[in-house]
């Protein structure tokens, strides 16, 4: 296999990792006001992702870095083209990242309320915008002969793009609810399971419409199978959730997201950013790629270190495998530092 194809696949894997992992911590963030009844329950939710959210987010940094290294033209066109959505995503990631670390630093309810808002909005915005961005990448955007994006923000806000955004938004919400159901105990666990099924049905309808539409736009026989499997996996996940099988339910949404992303990348290949201006201007795995030497160096690094990273990330999840419930939340937040114990 060509190294350019290998790197196309590896970048797909990085996005799969990102959406499957950060997808649920986005979901946990956005469902904060819906699932939790009081501050302690909010803290239960936040602590389910506390030790892992940052590691999850690194997947997007590596995806960005790998795109820069393996397909510099793709990185340059995409990031300078999707400028304002990316700026919004950056702002969202900044405020939500700080929310995790700063929310518990003071006890005043206004302080916590503001950081809750940062977490909620900071989770909704990227969940929506990543979907918009990917739908547009797959559908193609105006790109000229110089590989420059010639549209603007409104070019991206087309029906297909917006539907893509709603799919990722609802899918991540479902995924997050499944995660809360899997990682908590007590009332919130049952509430999360019920909510996962309800949002999941909406997500399933939107996802099926979007995947069929995508299939009609760029699909092949292989993507049809992958998309069908993604839809089946979501249904299986929802059925498992209803049956109280939280582990399988979470696996269901996890696999759904993974297959959907794989399907999108399969539909894209061998383009990386199709041009709607003229197919001749499309960025492909060949004309956007780095040199064979760079790809070879990067392949060695990836082959050696990816298994190590996967190993210790998996180990983290194992270390923090226990369910958390309201009785596990220590009060006051930080022993000896909190002046107003709640």
């Amino acid at each position: 296999m060509e190294l350019t194809t290998v790197w196309f696949a590896l970048i797909a894997v990085l996005w799969v990792g990102y959406f499957c992992l950060e997808g649920f911590d986005f979901g946990v963030g956005m469902l904060l006001p819906v699932l939790a009844r009081d501050d302690t329950e909010r803290r239960v939710m936040i602590n389910t992702v506390g030790p892992v959210w940052d590691g999850n987010e690194v997947w997007v940094l590596v995806a960005g870095g790998a795109t820069f290294a393996a397909f510099p033209e793709w990185y340059a066109t995409l990031f300078s083209g999707f400028y304002l959505p990316l700026l919004l995503i950056l702002v969202a990631l900044i405020v939500r990242g700080l929310s995790f670390e700063y929310r518990h630093k003071r006890e005043e309810s206004e302080w916590k309320g503001r950081w809750d808002l940062a977490l909620i909005i900071g989770s909704i915005v990227p969940s929506l915008l990543w979907g918009v961005a990917f739908a547009n990448i797959v559908a193609g955007v105006p790109i000229d002969a110089d590989k420059e994006f010639t549209g603007n923000l409104f070019t991206l806000l087309n029906p297909f793009g917006l539907l893509g955004g709603l799919v990722t938004l609802t899918l991540f919400a479902t995924h997050g609810a499944m995660f809360v159901a899997l990682k908590t105990d007590g009332e919130i666990r049952h509430r999360a399971r019920d909510l996962a099924v309800r949002i999941g049905v909406v997500a399933a309808v939107l996802a099926v419409v979007f995947l069929v539409w995508t299939q009609l736009k760029t699909g092949t026989a292989v993507t049809a199978v992958v998309f069908a499997a993604a839809a089946a996996s979501l249904v299986a996940g929802l059925v498992s959730a209803r049956a109280g099988r939280e582990g399988w339910a979470f696996v269901g949404t996890f696999v759904t997201i993974a297959l959907a992303v794989i399907g999108l990348f399969l539909g894209l290949f061998p383009d990386v950013m199709p041009s709607t201006t003229d197919p001749a201007y499309s960025l492909t795995t060949t004309n956007a790629a780095a040199t064979a030497y760079t790809l070879k160096v990067m392949t060695w690094v990836a082959v050696i270190f990816t298994p190590i990273v996967l190993g210790y990330q998996a180990w983290t999840y194992w270390v923090f495998r226990k369910r958390i419930s309201v009785r596990h939340i220590p009060t006051p937040v930080l022993a000896g530092t909190s002046d107003t114990a709640s």
Binding site: N47, E57, V58, A69, Y75, T291, Y293, T337
Partner: protein, 481 residues
Amino acid sequence: MDVLDIARWQFGIITVYHFLFVPLTIGLTAVIAGLETAWVRTGKEDYLRLTKFFAKLFLINFAIGVVTGIVQEFQFGMNWSDYSRFVGDVFGAPLAVEGLLAFFLESTFLGLWIFGWDKLPRGLHAGCMWLVHLGTLASSWFILAANSWMQHPVGYTYNAESGRAELTDFWAVMFNKVQVVTFPHVIFAAYMTAGTFLLGVSAYLYMKKKHEADRPMYHHAIRIGAVITLLAGIGVAITGDLQGKVMTEVQPMKMAAAEGLYETSESCAPFSVFTVGTPDGKEEKFAVTVPCLLSFLGTGSFDGTVEGINPLSEEYVETYGQDPTSKAFTEGDYTPVIPVTYWSFRFMMGLGAFAAAGAALILWLTRKGRTPGVRWLGVLGLSLPIATTLASSWGWIFTEMGRQPWVVFGLMTTESGVSPGVSVFEAATSLIVLTLLYAVLAVIEVKLLITYVKKGADPFEEPPRVKVGGSDEDKPLTFAY
């Protein structure tokens, strides 16, 4: 302002801001890991109390460092897409490797450390912080390799057909001669920053009546911090000197600009401690100079030749004149902004020297268990980490501004790296939004830091002894958000 100006201001603001948090992060991970290891080994309660106290301050700082770091990676593509296209084949690889090797390590093991007090055995818990530190070192290595390549491009070839720089030797990029002196310089500066932080915060608390009972602990911490500061300071000075020589060799213009030396000095070039002159630095009204010092800084010999700005600029027009579209060429001017390079170089060295002197003074005042009663100890102490942090900022401003008009020295000018497709509206929105957001975050961060510094270290609390994964007992978490 056009997109170029906006993009440059954004890069400057965003990067200097990000780097306010970076040295402290790198250095404190080592300090915290060291303190915790000392506790695991000796069982002395104070070490654990200091570990937890400084970790709390560290996390407040680290959080902003992390989130502002994301912008760093994105803005190459957003504002500097032509730069990205031109250098991606060389410059992208260290960035990608940094993510894979360093960011995963830092974030995963920091998560384990923060939440792992009741989930990991003590030695392993301390080991997690050492791994975080290793992650910060790896991160520094790769990002500095990328930057060093911009200072002194090696291991590449220019491909006229694809119109870009292409990697030919990865190891040459990894062990660029600029890199091998810059990396230790930056890391020693980070240790110095952490040393002054440990010293300063401890000195402040040492002086507070409220924390009188903990005076012996803070006294000890002051001395550890002072020793770290001085040892690291020696490292900074030595590596800085080496860097000066390499810089004179690969970018003579930067050394000339550091002094504002317009004409070549054949031997014994003086170094001015400060100068009062015209704003463009071309005319000097009053100056305090040290004879022959510039020759020594640049060449290692007191009568070495230091080339001047004017002959170098002429030489650059000859050498790099292939690109007639570049403003630097048409204006015949390859000179950086002299007042900026001149003063940033002095601020860097002056602030660093001040911090080292302050640490030495405090070390002497606290010798042999002495308990100084001087009231300004806390204020002096707290000024030291501010000095070291700003010294790093000025160091970077010097390094980056001194390379101008180049973004990649000798290969690409900054003006030709900017994104051609980005509108002034987009770039300005980004600059305004990020600057305002960062300003708000700075206020929040500093307030939190002050609140938590004032509280001082918590009383000793024995962490549970557990096996990996925690005990089977159903107890509240030792730490929770």
